[in-house]
Symmetry: C2
Subunit: 313 residues, 2 copies
C-alpha cells in the first residue's frame, strides 16, 4: 500500500518505519527542516526495546508533495494539532477520491478541520496509546505496548477501516476496529488532561506530580468534568477506571518517569502547546453545552499565560 | 502606651519601630531565632524612603512573654496565619481584662482563632495596605503610602478602637476608623487572591504576570467569585474597582516590580504559604454557602501541590 505519514515527528516516523519494514511504500511528510534534512541525508533511526535500526526513507516537505507524490492510498495524520490545517492544505492536491485519511492526532476536536479537506467516506478517525520520543532529529524511539483504535466516519466505509486495521496490525502496531472509538479518544483525553497541563505548570515529571497528596482532588475534578461532557454526547466513561488509569501513568517505571509531551513542547522547546485540543476542548464544549468545566478552563488559561511568559512560538 | 507586636516580621517590626519612635513602650515578639537574636544584639534597622535608622528594641520569643512582660495595653497581631494560634497560646497569660488586641493579619478567617483567646470587647479587627520587606534578619523596609483600617468587634468598644486609631496615626501609620472594615478586608483579599497564588505558580513578578494577555479572564473569574461570596455576607464590592486595583498593583513602578509575599515564602524560602487564608477561605466559604468558587479552589489546591513538590516547611 502507498502510505503517506503527514507529520513525521516521534509518533509519525515510528509508524512510518514499521509500515515500511512491513513492505509498504511509505513516504514521510514534515515541515521541520532539521528532521527532514537529517532523514534525507542519513535515513531514519528507529529504536524499540533497546534495539536501534537505521533505514533510508522518503521524506518531503508539505509543499513538495503535490508535485512529487501521487496515488497515495492512505494518509495517516500525525501532525501537532496547530499544524493540521496547513498540512492538509499543502497536501490536498495529492489526495484522490480513493485516498483514505486516518486521523490519529493527539487530543480532540480535529474532525472539523479534516472534514474541510476529506469527504466523509474517506475519513477514518482513531487514536493511539503508543507513545514515542524524538531522541534527536532523525532518531526516534517507540515505547512498547501501545495500540491503535479506529473506525470509519461513514457507515458504508467499514471495509476500508478494517483493511487499515489489518495493515497496521501486520506492521506490529496492534490496531483494532473500534465501534466505540469516541470512548477511547475520551479515555486518552483524560490521561492527557490530567498530566500534560499540570506537569507543564509545575515543571515536573508525571510521577513527581502523582506522588503529591494534594493532587488527587484536582485530578478527580478534571475527570468529573470530562465525564460530564462525554455523557452529554452519549458516551459513558467510568470514573474509577479513569482514576486507575491516572495511577497507571504515574508509575515511575513506565510513563511516570517522563515529562509529558506538553512539557517537552513548552518548557523544553519553547513551542506553543496543544492545550486547546486537550483541556481547552472540554472547556469549549462545556460552554457550548452549558456544563461547568472550570478546572479544564483554568488549566487551559494558565497554559496560555505560561506560553506568553516563555515567549513560545 | 505599652504595646506588644506579636509577629515581628517585616510588617510587625516596621509598625513596632514607628510606634516606639512615637514614644510608646513597644516590645516585639517573634519565634524566628535569626530575627530575634539579631535585634537583641544589634537593634532593629528600619528603612523608609531610602533612609535607614537603627534602634535598640525589646524583643522576646513567644514562650518568654508570660514570665517577662506584663501590663500590655495593646497587642497588634502580625504573625503569619499558620502561626497565629500558637502565638496566642504562648502569650495568653500576658493578656489582661484590659488588653486590647488588634488583628492585622493578611488574608481572612482569623476571627475564629482570635476569639478563642480574646473576649469580644477587647477584639479589634483591621487590615492594612502598608507593605514591607525583610531585607535581612534585623533589617526591614516599609514602602510608603499605606494605611490601616480598623473597627471594634463589640459595638460598645468604639472608644477603644478610636484610641488605637489615634495611636497609629500619630506614629505616621495613617489609621482610620472603618465602619466598613470587612469591605476593606475583602478588597485587600482580592489583591492578594489574584497576585499571590498565580505569581507563585508561574514564578514571576506581579508586573510580569499582569503583562500577559491571557491573564485577564483568570483575574476576572477570581474577582467574580470573591464578589459573590462577599455579597452573600451583605458586603458590596464593585467589580470594576477591583479590576482597576489589579491594574494598579501591576504597575512595575510600584508593587508590580516585586514578587508577592507568597512567592517569597514558598519559592524563595521554601516555607508553607498562607493560601488557605486567601484563595482557600473563598473556596471554603463557597462550599459553605453553596456558591461555586472553582478558580479560587483550584489555585489553593495547586499551591498546596507546589508546597509538596518543593518540600515546604
Amino acid at each position: 500500500m502507498k502510505i503517506a505519514i503527514a507529520g513525521a515527528g516521534a509518533m509519525g516516523a515510528s509508524f512510518g518505519f514499521l509500515l515500511a519494514e512491513a513492505g509498504h511504500n511509505v513516504i514521510l511528510i514534515d515541515g521541520w527542516d532539521r528532521q527532514v534534512e537529517k532523514i534525507k541525508s542519513d535515513g531514519l533511526t528507529f529504536e524499540i526495546n533497546g534495539k536501534a535500526t537505521t533505514k533510508k526513507m522518503d521524506i518531503y516537505y508539505p509543499h513538495e508533495v503535490k508535485h512529487r507524490v501521487n496515488d497515495i492510498e492512505l494518509v495517516i495524520l500525525f501532525t501537532k494539532a496547530m499544524q493540521l490545517d496547513s498540512m492538509l492544505s499543502d497536501i490536498q492536491d495529492a489526495l484522490t477520491a480513493n485516498t483514505k485519511v486516518l486521523c490519529l492526532l493527539n487530543g480532540m476536536g480535529h474532525e472539523e478541520v479534516v472534514a474541510r479537506y476529506v469527504p466523509k467516506e474517506n475519513f477514518l478517525l482513531g487514536n493511539t496509546l503508543w507513545s514515542a520520543a524524538l531522541l534527536e532529529p532523525g532518531s526516534v524511539k517507540l515505547y512498547p505496548g501501545g495500540n491503535v483504535n479506529l473506525k470509519n466516519r461513514d457507515p458504508k466505509s467499514k471495509d476500508d477501516a478494517i483493511k487499515v486495521v489489518d495493515v497496521l496490525s501486520e506492521a506490529g502496531l496492534s490496531a483494532n476496529y473500534a465501534d466505540e472509538v469516541m470512548a477511547s479518544i475520551y479515555k486518552k483525553l483524560c490521561v492527557n488532561a490530567f498530566c500534560n497541563g499540570l506537569c507543564t505548570l509545575f515543571d515536573v515529571t508525571i510521577a513527581e506530580f502523582g506522588n503529591t497528596k494534594s493532587e488527587l482532588e484536582v485530578v478527580n475534578q478534571i475527570i468529573s468534568e470530562i465525564i460530564a461532557i462525554a455523557k452529554f454526547e452519549g458516551i459513558a466513561l467510568d470514573h474509577q477506571e479513569m482514576m486507575t488509569s491516572f495511577e497507571t501513568v504515574c508509575d515511575p517505571e513506565k510513563m511516570g518517569g517522563h515529562y509529558p509531551s506538553m512539557h517537552q513542547d513548552l518548557v523544553k522547546n519553547g513551542r506553543l502547546t496543544e492545550v486547546d485540543y486537550i483541556n481547552g476542548v472540554i472547556a469549549k464544549k462545556g460552554q457550548q453545552y452549558g456544563i461547568p468545566t472550570p478546572y479544564n478552563k483554568l488549566i487551559t488559561e494558565m497554559i496560555h499565560i505560561k506560553e506568553e511568559l516563555l515567549n513560545a512560538k
